[in-house]
């Protein structure tokens, strides 16, 4: 009769078995929870890998598009002297060589100023290079406006490197005795140099 369903021992056995079953259920639930968490973690990592891979692919495509779009122009600009180091003596030779022979006498003189770093908004995206501005001021006397226009056009076409006409001043001399010197000209050109050498820039900074 000890094995009766309603004896203390049987009830204890039942409780033990049920407790064991509950513990097994809890352990199984914990294990499955861990398994699911692991699967979710793996899925999240895979999603991150997809995201990074897509970013990489997009970046590669963007780079390819940038290269296709700008490589040709870059090569052309390099051939035209984009990366040539600036030298005042060479710049003086360039300037003098650019002046047409018939107008050579019209130039009174020129000054190539100190190098100055250019930090305008145009260079905001450029981090691999620094832009250095080299200013050239010259004065001349011409007989009329067309001659001045020819001079400036010739300079624009013939001066090598990245140059820009920064400004000009024309003054008519009404008391001049000859027509050949009726207009006094004062102009400024700027050479832009792309350099990655900061030490060189420091040496040429204003005040040195």
């Amino acid at each position: 009769m000890n094995s009766s369903r309603y004896s203390k021992a049987a009830l204890r056995t039942t409780l033990q078995l049920c407790t064991g079953a509950v513990v097994v259920c809890a352990l199984a639930a914990a294990f499955m929870n861990q398994r699911r968490a692991s699967a979710e973690h793996r899925y999240e990592r895979a999603e991150q890998r997809i995201h990074s891979a897509r970013s990489r692919l997009e970046r590669a495509k963007d780079h390819r598009a940038l290269i296709d779009k700008y490589q040709g122009r870059y090569d052309q600009l390099v051939r035209e002297g984009l990366m040539v180091r600036f030298d005042r003596a060479v710049a003086g030779d360039w300037f003098e060589a650019a002046i047409p022979a018939k107008q050579f006498g019209a130039i009174d003189g020129y000054v190539i100023g100190k190098s100055a770093p250019y930090a305008g908004p145009e260079t905001a995206e450029l981090s691999a290079f620094r832009v250095v501005a080299h200013r050239l001021d010259f004065t001349a006397k011409v007989s009329h406006e067309d001659e001045f226009a020819d001079l400036m056009s010739t300079l624009e076409k013939r001066v090598p490197g990245i140059t820009a006409q920064e400004g000009c001043s024309l003054t008519r001399n009404r008391e001049s005795s000859t027509d050949a010197e009726r207009l006094a000209v004062s102009c400024a050109l700027i050479w832009y140099e792309f350099t990655s050498d900061r030490a060189d820039l420091a040496a040429n900074s204003p005040g040195n």
Binding site: M1, N2, S3, S4, Y6, S7, L11, L17, A21, V22, C25, A26, A28, A29, M32, N33, R35, R36, S38, A39, R42, Y43, A46, R49, I50, A53, R56, L57, A60, R64, L66, I67, Y70, Y74, L77, L82, G113, P117, Y118, G120, E125, S127, A128, F129, V131, R135, D137, A149, M152, S153, T163, A164, E166, C168, S169, L170, S186, A188, I190, F194
Partner: protein
């Protein structure tokens, strides 16, 4: 290990063991028992040895002990509606009072869920009910056999009284639920009578075989009816329900059975052979004197699950039964929830794993595509972004380049309508950021220039008016020239000096002498914003 159900059927004169095999119960042992065990010690020892030998052959079976002896006593008691705890205490006290000296006094014919049964009775109307309590009042006849089972610690599933099991016949015989029934079952010892009302078993007794022969059955039924009437259980005012008398006999008498009755005591007699209850049962067993029906009726055993609480107090048995039921229920619920959780979690985990595997494949594919794209890209010395920045910076810097020819042409167009205005000077420059402006000494910006945005182009024109113009016309021509220049260059004009001062705080000095003309200089400026200048 071959576990099977094993039924030990104990009567006053014999002990029969039935073992349930694949084709049904089979008689495996039949042991004669002495009528008076205290006096006939030797026959009892032989029977006990034979019984123990039989038990040793089947140590793993599940044993069901069914008693059909005169040692079972029944006592009707009216049990009021009480709380569960009070009911338990009341029943325990009554059992103590009635069956004080019996070790099996707690075997009561309550249902397996007595309190639920009583609650249902209360819900149906009566505030109290008459219950029957019973016990083994002379356990000496059973003790040797039960002790043999206990010594071996066999799996005894229950100790059942035959009378307590007989209400289950109501369902088998399809009797009306509201009718009274008297079941008469022929066993090896005699006739077992059980009176069952709609509320359950109310009376049971064993009628041993006598010398009356085939008339004994009718006489005993008449005695039982007289007893029921006397105890007001049946046939009295208010209890005139039809009495169904069912006689279950494997060896029916040849004498027609008659039951005395009158209008106040309507009865209906039915004679049943066990094979009608168990159509597929083995003939040898069905024709046996013992209750073959019981051996097939597992439902009756289950219904009287509390009957196995021999040796236990009612409260303990009931409480443990409830604990066991609750424990099993909770465990089943937890297991069900756990299984559901496991299934759902496993499904979700598998889904995630499949998704992760697919995502990893996609990532590998995209990575391979990216690598191929990177490998296919031409090798350059700069980062592509810096390549673009370099080219764009160069273009933006050169966008500041002034076209001298263009400026002069537009100025000439603006000047054309004013032949009396003579130009003496023309200058243009950029309003630079501070770093570049600091070095622009040669083309310094004059004072009085309105503040403009950096990179705007300033064009300044100075001159004098002709002598033929009146003062007002000269001033008007200069103002019109400034407007024309601004329109031509898409800029904003600024008159820095008029030929003749018209300001409220100014002065105008004139002379009428010939050859002493007044000063007629003028100066205008146009500021062209960077965007407009680029557009032009």
């Amino acid at each position: 290990m071959n576990r099977r159900n094993h039924y030990i059927y104990i009567t006053a004169g014999s002990l029969a063991c039935y073992r349930e095999l694949a084709n049904g119960p089979e008689l495996v042992a039949s042991i004669a028992t002495p009528r008076n065990s205290s006096r006939d010690r030797d026959p009892l020892d032989q029977s006990m040895q034979q019984f123990e030998t039989h038990l040793d052959v089947h140590p793993h079976d599940r044993y069901f002990v069914i008693t059909d002896t005169q040692a079972e006593a029944y006592q009707s008691e009216t049990v009021p509606t009480l709380s569960r705890r009070d009911l338990r205490l009341l029943l325990t006290r009554k059992m103590e009072q009635r069956y004080r000296a019996t070790p099996y006094r707690s075997v009561v014919p309550h249902r397996s869920r007595p309190y639920t049964f009583l609650r249902n009775l209360v819900r149906r109307g009566p505030r109290s009910t008459t219950r029957i309590l019973y016990a083994l009042i002379s356990p000496d006849t059973l003790a040797p056999w039960l002790e043999a089972l206990e010594r071996r610690a066999l799996d005894v599933r229950g100790l059942y009284s035959l009378g307590a099991l007989m209400p289950a016949l109501r369902t088998h015989l399809k009797l009306p639920e509201k009718a009274d029934a008297l079941f008469v079952l022929r066993t090896a010892t005699g006739y077992r009578h059980a009176f069952v009302s709609p509320s359950g078993l109310r009376f049971s007794r064993l009628c041993p075989y006598s010398n009356s022969g085939e008339t004994q059955l009718g006489q005993e039924i008449d005695k039982t009816l007289q007893y029921l009437t006397m105890t007001r259980l049946w046939g009295v005012q208010g209890r005139h329900r039809m009495l169904h008398i069912a006689v279950i006999d494997a060896q029916p008498s040849s004498v027609p059975l008659t039951v005395p009755g009158n209008n106040l005591r309507p009865t209906q007699l039915t004679q049943v052979h066990p094979r009608e209850l168990i159509p597929g049962g083995p003939a040898a067993l069905l024709d046996d004197a013992n209750s073959a029906w019981l051996l097939f009726n597992r439902a009756a055993l289950r219904e009287h699950g509390l009957g196995c609480a021999a040796g236990l107090g009612l409260s303990d048995a009931s409480r443990r039964a409830n604990y066991r039921r609750a424990t099993l229920g909770v465990t089943a619920a937890v297991a069900l929830l756990g299984a559901g959780f496991l299934a759902v979690t496993e499904y979700a985990a598998r889904e995630k794993i499949e998704l992760a595997a697919t995502s990893e494949l996609i990532a590998d594919h995209v990575n391979a595509t990216a690598e191929a794209s990177e490998a296919a890209a031409p090798k350059i010395e700069l980062q592509p972004e810096q390549l673009r920045a370099l080219v764009q910076t160069r273009d933006r810097l050169l966008a500041r380049n002034v076209s001298a020819l263009g400026l002069m042409q537009r100025t000439a167009i603006a000047l054309a309508p004013f032949p009396d205005l003579n130009v003496d000077g023309l200058e243009w420059f950029y309003v630079d950021p501070a770093a570049v402006a600091a070095t622009a000494s040669a083309v310094a910006r004059p004072e009085g220039l309105p503040s403009v945005a950096p990179n705007s182009l300033v064009l300044r024109l100075s001159g004098h008016t002709g002598a033929n113009l009146s003062k007002s016309d000269a001033n008007a021509a200069v103002m019109q020239l400034a407007a024309a220049l601004a329109k031509e260059l898409h800029g904003r004009e600024s008159i820095e000096k008029l030929p003749f001062d018209v300001a409220p705080g100014g002065t105008l000095t004139g002379t009428l002498k010939v050859g002493a003309a007044a000063t007629t200089d003028f100066r205008v400026a146009v500021t062209v914003p960077a965007a407009a200048e680029h557009a032009s």
